[in-house]
């Protein structure tokens, strides 16, 4: 059973600019955002073997809908994030309270480290791939690698449009992933090529449509609409099927499908 945590967007809006996608002058259509989110919610719930839990949206923290940054869950433990920007720092308290109530063991990172949850930490096989530079820092990886007792590979992100690892890297199976190479520095690219047997590189056009921010459920990929034909064909050959949804209102804040869920 695959369980996701989502947050129904009650107070979602673009109230500040902390990534190049956010423009206060391009406000969110709140009704449309709500409708798009509901479609995603229903789609996920409709998939076999998927359960979705909800965390109430706390007022004053509009980006809380992007639950992927609300923590990193493993073995009934959760690492509570330390957000880089004050505009999001208050979310940690709400996520912490929710996980505490549900009986998770809370792991708090020392405050000098920054770490934005699953947005910068993805598991492929038995290896964790961690992103750093824009939101998380590498010192947090060193600290977490001791807790996770697994191999942790740190990837430096270099394109500020892809500020979280989950905007440019998506594990598809134990041996393959989607990634946008130019979002990484040469060492990180080398790591992906060395440790992932079949990496699939995507071009800028697909990357900008947040194709790497898809939610992978088995062979299904839930994604914002607009996947290019060549990429679709490549993945279909590998046995994947895209479920394309309209998530444009969330792209306005620099997030898409995967940003809206946290794996429990």
């Amino acid at each position: 059973m695959l369980t996701f945590l989502m947050c129904r967007p009650r107070y979602y809006r673009v109230a500040y600019e902390i990534n190049p996608w956010m423009k206060v002058r391009h406000p969110v259509e709140r009704d449309q955002a709500a409708a798009q989110w509901e479609v995603l919610y229903k789609t996920l719930r409709g998939l076999p073997g998927v359960k979705v839990k909800l965390i109430p949206h706390a007022r004053g923290w509009p980006d809380m809908v992007f639950t992927a940054n609300g923590g990193l869950v493993f073995d009934r433990s959760v690492v509570i994030p330390n957000f880089r920007y004050p505009q999001r720092q208050g979310e940690a308290r709400h996520f912490g309270a929710w996980f505490g109530k549900k009986g998770y063991r809370l792991i708090r990172i020392p405050s000098r480290f920054q770490f934005e949850g699953e947005g910068d930490a993805l598991k492929l096989g038995d290896t964790w791939f961690f992103g750093y530079h824009f939101r998380s820092d590498i010192s947090s990886h060193q600290w977490l690698s001791e807790k996770l007792k697994a191999r942790v590979l740190s990837l430096e992100l270099v394109d500020k449009r892809f500020y979280h690892l989950d905007t440019c890297f998506l594990p598809l199976s134990d041996s393959s992933c989607l990634y946008y190479p130019k979002a990484f520095d040469p060492y990180a690219r080398k790591l992906i090529e060395r440790y992932v047997p079949n990496p699939v590189a995507v071009g800028l056009r697909d990357a900008l449509k947040f194709v790497c921010n898809a939610i992978a459920v088995g062979k299904r990929l839930v994604v914002h609409k607009g996947v290019s034909r060549p990429l679709r064909r490549t993945l279909e050959k590998m046995g994947f099927r895209f479920i394309e949804l309209e998530l444009g209102e969330f792209l306005k804040a620099g997030g898409s499908a995967k940003c809206l869920v946290l794996r429990l």
Binding site: I138, S139, E146, K149, R151, V152, L153, S154, L191
Partner: protein, 403 residues
């Protein structure tokens, strides 16, 4: 070369973090030394490396450290210096750090700060975020004094010096040195210091006058190669005795013979200067028309005459309180780049104690014991020259004139 040790921890081999950091250091023209490395055996194990990073300058090093900190290197935290309050006026805490004359830094509130006015055999007082080298007699009760050795670093003098003259510094003191070459090198140094706007300090004993070398020192002063003069009652007295009576300790310097009743000339000189109200007034009144002291007044040389128990008179310009004299000397030492100590024991040792090791120091005496003594008192940066004062100053003046 400034350096900083960093620790790198995690899956640094698998993750290419270590090679990436080392590449960064080299790309930025820094250098590194892996001091310690422990590599995990299983793929779940983490590894740790301790790397010493060096660069040519402190800002360059800071840049490298800033960059590699972002990719996983953690600077090893340095300990702050331990501070304790002075228990009384003029008393350091028992465990006080005793200074050397080398450039010294103190780690205070997480960063290295330089110690100002460094001199040997003092303590370090921290005041308003600044570190001051303070003699024991000057410390006030409750002032925070650096204790122990943790959080204090001294910067050794660089081995290679541009001027070959000072390469003799490492050799032992001996009369068997090629003096002509050394003196020519010294003349070059003196000109170079003046060209850069540095000050030259001369510490001179009365033998400078007795040996008839006073005229050369006077010439050097008139040529602008002396900015500060430290001496005692003796040098000034005999110089003015010569200016007024043509003798030094009663010996006619031109004829080289004792003069009849010459033994009281120095007392008459002292009396005349006391009557005039001091050296400066004696010059202004036209009483004093030549000599070292005359040149000093005319050229605006900063003079400190520090007295001793055997002084006759003394001259009104002599500071008889030794602590007051030390303070006066400390004030004038600021900005001095080169110190020339000639035929003086106590004043040379006193000056040597106050000079930072970065000041190039030359000690000239006919007696090897004097030169050795100054060096043994801790002024290890000196270039010692065992030779006659008159011939040294004559040669030096000649070399300075020749250009």
């Amino acid at each position: 070369m400034p350096s900083q040790t960093v620790t790198i921890r995690g899956h640094i081999i698998d993750s290419l973090i270590l090679p990436k950091i080392l590449d960064e250091i080299m790309d930025a023209s820094g250098s590194f030394k892996i001091e310690h490395i422990r590599i995990g055996q299983k793929k779940t194990d983490t590894s740790t490396a301790q790397v010493k990073v060096s660069a040519n300058t402190a800002p360059h090093l800071a840049n490298i450290i800033r960059r590699i900190s972002k990719i996983g290197a953690v600077p090893v935290a340095e300990e702050d210096a331990k501070l304790e309050p002075a228990p009384r006026h003029g008393v350091f805490p028992e465990d006080f750090y005793c200074t050397t004359n080398l450039i010294t830094w103190v780690h205070f509130e997480g960063r290295w700060i330089p110690v100002r006015n460094i001199e040997m055999d003092c303590g370090i007082v921290i005041q308003k975020g600044k570190a001051w080298c303070t003699p024991v007699g000057k410390v006030r009760r409750g002032e925070r004094v650096v204790c122990g050795h943790a959080g204090v670093k001294v910067i050794p003098l660089e081995r290679s010096r541009k001027s070959e003259t000072f390469q003799f510094m490492t050799s032992s003191i001996s009369s068997e040195k090629p003096k002509g070459r050394i003196i020519r090198g010294l003349a070059r140094e003196i000109r170079e210091v003046r060209r850069r706007g540095g000050k030259i300090l001369v510490v001179a004993g009365p033998a400078v006058v007795h040996t008839g070398a006073g005229r050369y020192l006077e010439q050097m002063i008139r040529m602008g190669y002396v900015q500060v003069l430290f001496a005692g009652n003796g040098l000034a007295t005999h110089d003015m005795e010569y200016a007024l009576f043509g003798t030094s300790l009663g010996v006619n310097l031109d004829k080289g013979e004792p003069e009849k009743y010459g033994h009281d000339h120095h007392m008459r000189a002292i009396n005349a200067i006391r009557a005039a109200g001091g050296i400066r007034r004696a010059v202004r009144k036209g009483l004093l028309k030549k000599g070292i002291m005359h040149a000093c007044v005319q050229k605006g040389v900063q003079v400190v005459l520090a007295g001793s128990v055997r002084d006759d008179g003394p001259l009104p310009d002599v500071i008889t309180d030794v602590i007051e004299a030390q303070d006066a000397m400390r004030k004038k030492i600021k900005g001095v780049s080169l110190a020339l100590m000639i035929a003086s024991t106590l004043h040379s040792i006193a000056t040597g104690n106050m000079l930072p090791a970065t000041v190039r120091t030359i000690c000239v005496d006919i007696n090897p014991a004097v030169v050795t003594k100054v060096a043994d008192r801790g002024t290890f940066q000196i270039l010692g020259l065992v030779t006659d004062t008159e011939s040294f100053l004559r040669e030096l003046c000649h070399a300075l004139n020749r250009r």
